[in-house]
Symmetry: C2
Subunit: 137 residues, 2 copies
């Protein structure tokens, strides 16, 4: 059987794409790989791609030169988590404070990891997690 190698793309759906793009570029310091009026793709440390889609902007099939991207869309305050190193935890707390981003919650896990939770401009529940959360992390 073939095996999935990794999660390549994780998507969030946003009301104001420019606002969200600024947030992820500025507060989380992600580099833009590609952006237009419909979506924005960020490089997460060369390992994953975070996609922001303008809500409703991908709800119809999208013909491309190489094929058709099927429709998708999303609502609600979604959840996703980024991995951070344990030694960066206080630096991340300071960075969030610098931008006036409230830490909604802090969780310590039985394996020793710590998670910080905050909201992006669309209310998505974003987590920064140090190792010691899952069996594999």
């Amino acid at each position: 059987m073939p095996k999935l190698q990794a999660v390549l793309e994780t998507a969030l759906y946003v009301d104001d794409l420019a606002r969200a793009k600024t947030f992820y570029e500025t507060v989380l310091e992600l580099r833009v790989l590609r952006a237009d009026s419909r979506f924005c793709a960020f490089d997460v440390n060369g390992r994953n791609v975070l996609l922001l889609f303008k809500r409703g902007g991908s709800a119809k099939a999208m013909p491309m030169p190489g094929g058709v991207i099927p429709p998708h869309d999303g609502a609600g305050p979604l959840h996703m988590a980024f991995a951070i190193s344990a030694q960066d935890l206080s630096a991340w707390e300071a960075a969030l404070a610098k931008y006036g981003i409230a830490i909604e919650s802090r969780v310590t896990w039985p394996r020793g990891g710590t998670s910080l939770y905050f909201r992006d401009p669309d209310g998505h529940a974003i987590e920064l997690a140090t190792p010691g959360l899952w069996e594999i992390y």
Copy 2:
């Protein structure tokens, strides 16, 4: 500045958790890390965690021994992508066919990669992508 290391958790919201769990375990052969009546967590090749949440089941803040998990929830046919190796592309096509999963679309990208798109039982637009899609992949 601290740096995000990777995307750790990607979440989908599903109507029937048992049905979705079976799909990801059986068709995509993901290993369950943890599961209860509210959610299911899968190991993606030791690198990422895919979370399935029963729709509405995490819409209230959840007290845990180590802190409170903030509320989140989602609707709509979301999108996510898994990385696969190029040599496994035809094996994945065969695996999807074996389980009667229709390939909704196939896209070839300018950098040489190929994506297969199909729907999970909740209609999420799932992509399997070979290298040659993004600058970093």
